[in-house]
């Protein structure tokens, strides 16, 4: 059979940041995990498919939180509508099935979170910005499943294609998804295990300092400077000792799979605002 192409594939050279982010997210999911996605989640959906096509063929994907292991076609314009989950092995009814699975700590242990605001302790906000909850400056779409996933002992993986001081903030205006709350052991004291693991943005990768639970820079993407990252961040992330590592480039095979097989229509680009 020979070595799978993804194992000895060289760096891609002509990758773009969406592809790098997908590769980083894909590396978070392994055989034996179950992954699900919600609305407008092009990068996670591409990442799950990339993982399945390379290092994690036994990753289980619940497309749109509905369709178990659909036969993947090109990613459609919606990651919640039927075209994503056609030809599945099972339709997972939401009330009896999906949330029973999600509440039970053994399944769906990892969850990708996208939100309008994320703070230095990994709390996320998709509810309101500014003003009072009942008369906010900005009404965001609402927490939906995030408020559950953050409190159900999951490991959370944030993705943010628009890293800026308004989306990565010192403190969220409203906690609609529990990260490490005030940091330290506050999450544990409430009886919650799991919590934020990683933050993948269009500039860098961050994780969380084990004791303080403060967000920590893990690597900066190629061609991005540390100064750019710090300027774009609404707080000072913990810096690693010594030089800040560079995020590994996606491989040529990863980029080929994303462009030709997983997302030939380029739906992933919808997540990135023009700057």
């Amino acid at each position: 059979m020979g070595t799978p192409a993804y194992l000895d594939s060289p760096p891609a050279g002509d990758w773009t940041v969406d592809e790098l982010m997908i590769a980083v997210l894909a590396s978070c999911f392994s055989d034996g995990d179950q992954a699900c996605n919600g609305m407008a989640s092009f990068l996670p959906v591409a990442a799950f498919q990339l993982a399945k096509l390379t290092h994690a063929p036994d990753l289980v994907w619940l497309a749109g939180a509905v369709g178990l292991e659909p036969r993947p076609g090109p990613i459609p314009a919606s990651t919640l509508e039927a075209p994503l989950w056609r030809d599945a092995l099972m339709y997972v009814e939401q009330y009896g099935d999906f949330w029973t699975l999600a509440l039970n700590g053994r399944w769906l242990q990892k969850f990708c979170v996208g939100a309008a605001q994320l703070d230095r302790f990994g709390n996320a906000n998709n509810s309101v910005i500014g003003g009072d909850f009942h008369a906010p400056k900005v009404r965001l779409p609402g927490t939906a499943g995030l408020a559950d996933m953050g409190s159900l002992d999951k490991r959370l993986y944030y993705w943010n294609p628009n890293h800026n001081p308004r989306s990565l903030v010192a403190k969220v205006d409203f906690v609609s998804c529990a990260g490490y709350l005030g940091g330290g052991d506050e999450r544990e004291r409430l009886g919650l295990s799991g919590g934020p693991e990683l933050v993948v943005t269009n500039l860098c990768v961050l994780d969380f300092e084990p004791d303080s639970k403060h967000m920590r820079l893990r690597s900066v993407h190629p061609d991005v400077t540390l100064e750019q990252v710090l300027e774009a961040t609404g707080f000072e992330p913990v810096l690693p000792p010594g030089d800040v590592p560079t995020t590994p480039e996606p491989t040529a095979e990863q980029v080929r799979l994303i462009r030709e097989v997983i997302d030939p229509h380029g739906m992933r680009h919808r997540e990135f605002r023009r700057r």
Binding site: A40, L103, R139, G142, T143, A144, V175, S176, C177
Partner: protein
């Protein structure tokens, strides 16, 4: 069995001003839009809506001034963005939003359906959603385990759902299956249930696949045949969402005049559902949506 078959206009009379209305809807999917348009035409006021994820239906109801409160998980038209009229009404204080996690909304409705005063969840612990909501409270486990969030029973006055087929007695089938919990639990929690259906069939058709029946007729108060009744949302597997109409609505959002013109063209103007279908593109358009080509 009693006959529940009626018209949109008659069915809408089961919804009163001020009612709490549970609405089947998941972003761009499966909303009983024909009934929503009828409620707007009949100028219902001060409705409280309940959805999992409200989409264009909620934005129309907000723009038309029909609602003043919402209980649900989120409001979004997914790829078509935020529901701007809904959003601004919340920002202006004209609509009050009770924001719940998914398990909390399902617990509230589940308790309502089962005549239990509350059901618990473990979601939301640590978030800011609990303290601001009088329908949620932390509760110690009487057996000494971890605390839970008690979610107070919610009993909507009326539930609106759209299904694939029903008989004239209100027995309701989904094909292939009911995927979203608004079908699984909302109608069971509500005091009254209004069903629109792609097709009214003879009861014998239902008997051929009794496992596809999700609601017994005795729980249903009205059933109305409305083919393409979820348009412009999708109705799997029969048809996709209408991207063009969603985009036209989004484009109109910035101007009061454009909004008024849009509502006149597609909501107030058409005399009946057939006229609405003609206004949005007629048989040719529907055929394209049935091929899921227009999304």
């Amino acid at each position: 069995m009693q006959v529940k078959k009626t018209t949109l206009a008659e069915a809408a009379s089961l919804v009163s001003d001020g009612d709490v209305v549970a609405l089947q809807n998941m972003a761009t999917q499966a909303a009983p839009m024909a009934m929503v348009r009828e409620l707007i035409r009949q100028q219902r006021r001060e409705l409280g809506l309940v959805c999992l994820v409200g989409g264009i239906a909620l934005d129309w109801l907000a723009a038309a001034g029909c609602m003043n409160r919402f209980t649900g998980n989120a409001v979004s038209m997914e790829q078509f963005g935020l529901a701007q009229h809904y959003r601004h009404a919340v920002e202006d204080g004209r609509i009050c939003m009770e924001e719940l996690s998914e398990t909390a909304l399902l617990a509230r409705l589940g308790a309502g359906a089962r005549n239990l005063p509350f059901l618990p969840t473990r979601g939301m612990i640590g978030t800011d959603l609990i303290d601001i909501n009088e329908n949620l409270t932390m509760l110690e486990d009487p057996f000494g385990g971890p605390p839970v969030v008690a979610c107070r029973a919610l009993v909507p006055d009326v539930a609106l759902i759209h299904c694939h087929r029903a008989d004239r007695h209100g027995n309701v089938q989904y094909e292939p299956t009911a995927l979203w919990p608004d079908v699984g639990i909302m109608p069971k929690a509500a005091r009254r249930v209004i069903v629109t259906t792609e097709q009214i069939v003879d009861s014998d058709v239902l008997r051929a696949n009794p496992d596809r029946t999700v609601l017994p007729g005795f729980m249903v108060d009205a059933v109305v045949e409305v083919p393409w009744g979820a348009h412009p949302t999708s109705f799997n597997p029969l048809y996709g969402y209408d991207a063009a109409l969603h985009l036209a609505w989004v484009a109109a959002a910035g101007s009061d005049n454009d909004v008024a013109a849009f509502l006149e063209s597609y909501v107030y103007g058409p005399d009946d559902h057939e006229a609405y279908l003609a206004a949005v593109g007629g048989a040719e358009r529907m055929a394209a949506l049935a091929r899921w080509e227009a999304g």
